[in-house]
Amino acid sequence: MDVSNTHLLDEAVVTTTIDAVINWGREASLWPFVFGTACCAIEFMSTAASRYDISRFGAEVLRFSPRHADLLVVAGTISYKQAPILKQIYDQMPEPKWVIAVGACASTGGFYDNYTTLQGIDEIVPVDVYVAGCPPRPEAIIDAILDIQRQLKREKCFEVRNTEFKGKLDDA
């Protein structure tokens, strides 16, 4: 069953200044859900520590429940065993939500091209920003968050996102 997003007003209304205000609110207070599995999670912990503070950019509140979060940060290798867990967490997050794939393993499977590693999380969830690196430096992770903020600014705030994505676990 694929992810179907619904929206009452659809394209009937054009919002510009409201867009600016609401998007400013959203970008300045992204609440990340850290789905950290491996080495990239350690680098994310460094990013959240006091030297490369991500709370400078508004993403201070690290929420560990998908219901409270709007930014899914997947840091680390996702194996086939982990994939349904990731899909469940992603589906349980409320809209609007963004996804960052941190590191080579989350983006494409990294150098684990074998029987157990998912070759990139974009096989199951739609990804907004990919961060290269193994693991990427904290500055690169912060750059990804800033990139999400830049993307956010250009969006229409009431628009539905990612309607056409169909991942491999969507039929389950």
């Binding site: 179907s4 619904t6 469940q88 589906d91 539905v160």
Partner: protein, 119 residues
């Protein structure tokens, strides 16, 4: 109407009207996704939970909750009393101390009967 009463009623009106309005607005204006998994309980990402949470909870949780509630309500009563103590006078002071004394007796009983010990 006095100034503070007017202010208080404006505040209550704003809360009662504005907050539900905001909630409903997000429902109509915002986007939502409806998929099967969204409404399932969050259990660390697992789908096949073996038991749902509609069974009886252990009575220890209830006891801790109820005892907290009683003492919280006591504190709630103490706030307006503390603010208006000067106008209420000596009688109110002694009465509140009697009230607190009764509840401290209750706390003592709770402590002695080891209800608050978890094991």
């Amino acid at each position: 109407m006095s100034g503070s009463l007017l202010l208080a009623s404006i505040m209550i009106a704003a809360l009662v009207v504005l907050l539900p309005l905001l909630f409903h607005l997000t429902k109509y204006l915002g986007s939502s996704s409806d998929n099967v998994r969204k409404n399932e309980p969050v259990e660390g990402g697992i789908r096949l939970t073996c038991k749902d949470s509609y069974d009886a909870f252990n009575v220890k949780f209830f006891l801790v909750g109820i005892i907290f509630l009683i003492f919280d309500v006591e504190v709630l009563f103490m706030f307006p009393w503390a603010l208006n103590l000067r106008e209420l006078g000596l009688f109110a002071l002694i009465e509140m101390f009697v009230f607190m004394g009764l509840l401290i007796g209750g706390l003592f009983y709770v402590y002695k009967s080891k209800v608050l010990k978890w094991t």
